[in-house]
Amino acid sequence: MNLTKSLKLAVVALATSGLALSASAQDLKGAGSSFVNPLFQKMFSQYTPAKVDYQSIGSGGGIAQLTAKTVDFGDSDAPLNDEQTTKMGGPAAVLHIPMTSGAVVVTYNVPGVAGGLKLSGKDLADIYLGKVKTWNSPEVKDSNPGVNLPNLPIVVIHRSDGSGTSFIFTDYLTKVNPDWATKVGKASAPNWPAGLGGKGSEGVAGLVKQTPGAIGYVELAYAIQNKMPYASIQNKGGKFIVPTIAATTLASNVTIPADTKVSVTNTDNAAGYPIASFTWALIYKEQNYNGRTKDQATKLVKLLWWNIHEGQKFCEALNYAPLSKSAVKAAEAVLKSATYGGKAIL
């Protein structure tokens, strides 16, 4: 008797919650990068003027959804490539708005070296090319005077799945090592010349932690949360930079072009960490499509405006790097160029 009663209650509760859910339909829908997801969830839970639903399905998925016009905005860790741009109606049709920046750090498992490893970009690329094979080879030793490096083979670990993290990492290696540029290049899943692939950050982290002599790369936030050691990387100015949130922000404090589609890896900033990148929200420049209302368009642009200003205060607690001053300025200009029926929204 009691059981049936509580069962009935549960059914009623379920039904009403379903009704409630359908009644409060989301105002805005977004999809894309999983890297930015924890930050977006925090931001959107704090943002009151509109309800936002963000699905972390990966950058490629987000771009596909925006191309199909099923979401209001996408988010990608890499700017659109030529083919994607053409599919969405040419370079003028889509706006890139930087949301935050993230760093990719090089993690390692070298017995006897607990932390403080230093690497230059060129040597890092040579390690990933399989040219530098042992930890005590002269290339690694030169960057680490006084460190007792063991005679251990380097086990290269990379992501096996297509990922924005791999794109940022290979984008950097392409810039600093001509051999890498011709043999491999930059891609979310390139043809890795050496090593093992781990699925996802957890796959890479698992392999690095277990394999003595391993080297891998993960996002800064992931390394901090999982207490993994990470190397200082030599930047363009010749300084070894410890990856921090501040150093990541500094990396993007350079002259940003008007469309913000810039790669900030191997930054010119003397104190900037060299393996960093923006993640971009993507929206159509002309917001009057598919019968969208002006109200919807305004809500969307105002949300992104809030993201690059007030929203930035949530970055540091979640180990994301807030946008640099020059990036915010460039993003403001881009948002102001959004139109509804040919007229500026903001």
Partner: protein, 325 residues
């Protein structure tokens, strides 16, 4: 007045027909019965045709979607050894080899186990709580999600394999074809085993009793009565588990090392890292950012489809040959 019943011969028995009975032209069925019979038959037909249509549809979709890759890469796609999305060069050879190697290695490891389980639970211990417990446990193996196997392999099996590799003087990666095959073997055991248990229990008792009466031992009964009687069925179970192994994705991708490089030595072929077709598709599909790349991945699906069909056809051929002899 009582009408006396008329008994008539209805093919195989006498039926009691009332005098006002209207003769049905087809059999002795009422119209309602007949309607259900036809409808049910139609339903079965529609279902089976639908299934065929779905498979043909999948094949057509795969061909259409992979057309850009088929035209640009040509037939050398099959034996090309380079998979480079940046340069737009695609070759399926490393993944084809990886898929076949892991599946067949897993099959060879799993066969003794699934046969032993089938014989034990089918013949030696077919009833009782221990038998039920074991049978349920084996079925549970099939119910565990493959990502759980992946994590188990990564954190338990990989360190063990690494220790073994150090003793054998191989680069101690831990992950690789061998590790993936072991986990695959565990995953496919229930498919062969549970079909085997059912089949062995279905062997007619008179056959076995006859053999026992002639003084055969248990081993002799299994070898000379049960095995010949269930051979083709047991092989069908093996085929079923092979199909499962060919398509398994998540656990394999977590353990195989995901490298496109083709191994150079025999040791490296088995212990070194590799990759499979299903694993590459799962890894790269979501972020494949240009048409040709996406198309090449779909063509990989087409190759996997064709490989599965070929292996199944060979299996069917073997089954018929075994049954005839």
């Amino acid at each position: 007045m009582i009408t006396s019943p008329v008994f008539t011969w209805a093919g195989n028995c006498f039926v009691n027909k009332p005098p006002n009975f209207v003769e049905n032209k087809r059999l002795e069925l009422s119209n309602g019965q007949l309607k259900w019979e036809t409808m049910f038959k139609l339903l079965l037909k529609v279902m089976s045709v639908l299934l065929v249509l779905i498979i043909v549809g999948v094949l057509i979709t795969l061909i259409i979607e992979s057309w850009p890759s088929i035209t640009s890469q040509g037939i050398k796609y099959i034996w090309g050894k380079v998979w480079d999305p940046v340069q737009n060069i695609y070759g399926a050879y490393p993944f084809l080899v990886g898929t076949l190697l892991t599946s067949f290695t897993a099959l060879i490891i799993s066969i003794p186990f699934s046969y032993a389980i089938a014989i034990y639970l089918g013949e030696y211990n077919p009833k009782g709580w221990l038998s039920d417990l074991l049978k349920n446990t084996i079925e549970l193996i099939a119910a565990v999600p493959s990502i759980i196997y992946g994590f188990w392999g990564l954190f338990v099996l990989v360190p063990l394999v690494r220790t073994l590799e150090m003793k054998l003087d191989i680069l101690p990666y831990g992950v690789g074809v061998f590790t993936a095959s072991i986990v695959l073997a565990v995953m496919i055991i229930p498919y062969g085993a549970s079909l085997g248990i059912t089949l062995i229990r279905m062997v007619p008792s008179p056959l076995k009793e006859g053999a026992y009466a002639l003084g055969a031992t248990r081993w002799e009964v299994i070898r000379n009565v049960i095995m010949p009687y269930t051979r083709s069925g047991l092989f069908a179970g093996v085929l079923l588990s092979l199909g499962r192994a060919l398509g398994e994705t998540m656990a394999v991708t977590m353990l195989i090392g995901n490298t496109t490089a083709v191994a150079d030595t025999f040791k490296n072929v088995f212990f070194g890292p590799g990759n499979t077709m299903a694993s590459v598709i799962a890894n790269e599909f979501a972020e494949a950012d240009h048409t040709l790349y996406l198309s090449a991945l779909i063509e990989l699906g087409l190759v996997l489809f064709v490989v599965t069909v070929i292996i199944n056809m060979i299996g069917k051929r073997i089954i018929t040959r075994v049954t005839k002899s």
